[in-house]
Symmetry: C2
Subunit: 427 residues, 2 copies
């Protein structure tokens, strides 16, 4: 099938999938876990083909590491499949139940979105994770993996197909794999069939997708996160939190990129924090006020807009909490930002006015993720302003529909005054 | 200010607006209601200028009727302002409160989306309604009204500006009015500043906006709604509901456009329903099976895809509930669809598998709206698959953010095993 046929088939499949029981969906996921163990040798052999091609093509060490599957990694994948299977059924939750009249009952109930398009890079384990999340939430999915993981992806995909075929014919066509680079642009044009795109990869991939489709995209491009150290901060705490925010894992989206420091404590705080950051091999860039206190490379306007995802940090001295908030709302990426302060008023203003998906007081920006937030499963981190924001759990793959159950009721009776709405909450 | 400056100003204003109390937002709305009464003569005089221009330009009777303001209409507007003011504060609802550790508390809290772009046609009362909904929900708004209502819109807009200026300087710039036709295309390009577009007007307007912006659009273009009469239907009920769904107000989006009839009862049901529909001046179009039973114009493939918004109905005979569902999912607009049946199994299958924002059993499609659903206020009806679907109340103008309040917590302690997450629900 070509991409459009696959998308149409996935759309048709999504209607059927909406009515499959949680027991069967969970059954498929657990069966995938079993098959993955049974067929482990074969999966590793297929992965080996990708690895050999990768070596021949001289791909980067980082890419190669992502691509590698091992027995240990497969055990990890199996454990996460079991975690997803064990999540409560997200479909069919009734969040509103309202009597419109004594024989006319309205319910608002959670349902799958429909067809999710997923574009991911290198890691073959991403295919398993996202496919299991889509099945658990009753969504059809079109998967576009990296060319470099072609053999691994095909092997893992075929295990899902087998597990679904064993379970129920209504799973037919609900997962689709597309492979070629040209398929991406075709997929992005299929807004008639694909309800939501989830890109999982580099900022460039996300930006490319956001710029080239009418399908809603859930995710984030940049993660330009800030820590603001207020004049009323516990300075030792501020040092510890700053170092953790920058250094605990600098390559990820919730690491700090810019440190904002209140002018009143700058001369006391900056030498302390700079010492620790330099110990951790962080390159410091700073505005003029910072340059006057510690040894830093001069920062330019461009630095405030840059996600380094590396051991580089820009530092700016600000005159007030308001100025810090303004900097964050102007230059930030609305991802995750923290204030360090003992002043409840400053903390409240920061929490209320910083327009980011996660706003933090007195803790590290690195906490902003699905596992640490206790979401059960993380679909991704979103900086969107509608639907789902911040670390997104399974609920990001759901929408709702209204069900209205009547007894021959007609609007004319209510319009004429013959009958009246009761609008009584039942739930 | 030009459109881009207005959008930037609205974005900046939206950050401040997020922290204004419900009391002040409600105060503004009630003050608008007062000022509207006080300045009624002036508002009517400004409206008169639009009406005179409209007469000179020979606009249609329908458009003219929409444009007219009267003392009575203003009383209606004032009543609806008071309704909006009286709604519970939608901002600041904590929907998740979770202890990540004993000194690290996570909250998920409802917040305004930011900047809403609204494009509406003719009716000046739409400006008042949508502005009050945006203020109540803490959103900045950029309003683009029809040129034909220019004087009325300016007058009503100035009342909002006055009421906000009296209340609090933080309301400055949070409502913006743009007027010229060129402003629409500029507004649609400002995805950096506008978070959500809400078009209120014709299908063509909605389609134009959906096709020409990267900003998420909330709404619906077509309303191709179906009633399916099952073989186990109460046929008298089916007649009554069909007539109400088609005739009670044929010009609106939740009126029935296509009637699907199970083959087993077609020869009994079609003559009954056709008689009543023809009595109500409905033009009937039907497939071959229908033509064999009652007198109808032959329907073409095009009819299944058409929203008539008029006294025209297409009829198709189907072999099963599954065939009816397939027709609806293929040709429908995922808006509102109903089954008439006494068979619980058929009803359940219909509710589960029809992929529409409202799915109904044994009642009229005309029930699908915000007032009848008891939403308090209706922002619009959405056929989107993310964010908000069906009749949308104030909650469609809200998103959430995560707030994490700590005590110097760092991720390194949890990664090293020195500390462990508790993940205890507090709410």
């Amino acid at each position: 099938m070509n991409t459009i046929d696959k998308a149409m088939a996935a759309k048709q499949a999504s209607f059927k999938l909406a009515s499959i029981s949680d027991q069967k969906k969970t059954g498929v996921i657990l069966r995938v876990a079993e098959l993955l163990k049974e067929k482990q040798a074969w999966v590793l052999a297929e992965n080996q083909k990708d690895l050999e091609k990768a070596k021949a093509e001289n791909i980067s060490q980082v890419m190669y590491k992502r691509l590698v599957l091992t027995e240990e990694k497969i055990d990890g994948i199996i454990a996460s499949l079991k975690d997803v299977a064990g999540l409560p059924d997200p479909v069919g939750h009734v969040t509103v139940k309202r009597e419109l009249d004594d024989d006319l009952i309205l319910e608002k109930v959670s349902v799958p979105i429909g067809v999710i398009g997923i574009i991911f890079e290198s890691r073959p384990d991403a295919l398993v994770q996202i496919s299991s999340l889509c099945i658990k939430s009753g969504n059809a999915a079109i998967l576009k993996g990296g060319r470099e993981a072609q053999y691994s992806n095909r092997a893992l995909f075929s295990i899902f197909i087998d597990a679904m075929a064993e379970m129920d014919s209504r799973f037919t066509n609900c997962l689709q794999l597309v492979e070629s680079r040209e398929d991406i642009s075709e997929l992005l044009s299929l807004d008639q069939y694909v309800d939501l795109m989830i890109p999982r990869g580099s900022n460039d991939l996300v930006k490319h997708i956001q710029a080239n489709t009418k399908i809603p995209v859930m995710g984030h491009a940049d993660g330009i996160c800030h820590v603001y150290v207020d004049k009323d901060a516990d300075l030792d705490m501020a040092v510890t939190v700053s170092v953790d925010s920058k250094c605990q894992y600098p390559a990820v989206c919730n690491a700090m990129e810019t440190l904002l420091v209140h002018r009143d404590i700058a001369s006391k705080f900056l030498p302390k924090v700079a010492e620790k950051l330099v110990e951790n091999n962080v390159e410091l860039r700073g505005d003029e006020a910072t340059q006057n206190i510690v040894s830093v490379i001069p920062a330019t306007e461009e630095d405030w807009k840059t996600e380094y995802t590396d051991l580089i940090l820009s530092i700016r001295v600000v005159d007030s909490t308001d100025a810090a908030i303004e900097h964050i709302n102007t230059y930030g990426s609305h991802h995750t930002d923290a204030i360090i302060s003992k002043d409840a008023g400053a903390c409240d203003a920061f929490l209320a006015t910083v327009d980011s998906s996660s706003v933090l007081t007195n803790c590290s920006t690195r906490f902003a993720d699905g596992f640490r937030y206790g979401l059960g499963a993380e679909v991704g981190i979103s900086t969107n302003k509608i639907h789902a924001r911040g670390p997104v759990g399974l609920e990001g793959l759901l929408i709702y529909k209204y069900r209205l159950v009547g007894n021959g009721n007609i609007v004319a009776d209510y319009a004429s005054g013959k009958k009246a709405f009761t609008h009584k909450e039942v739930l």
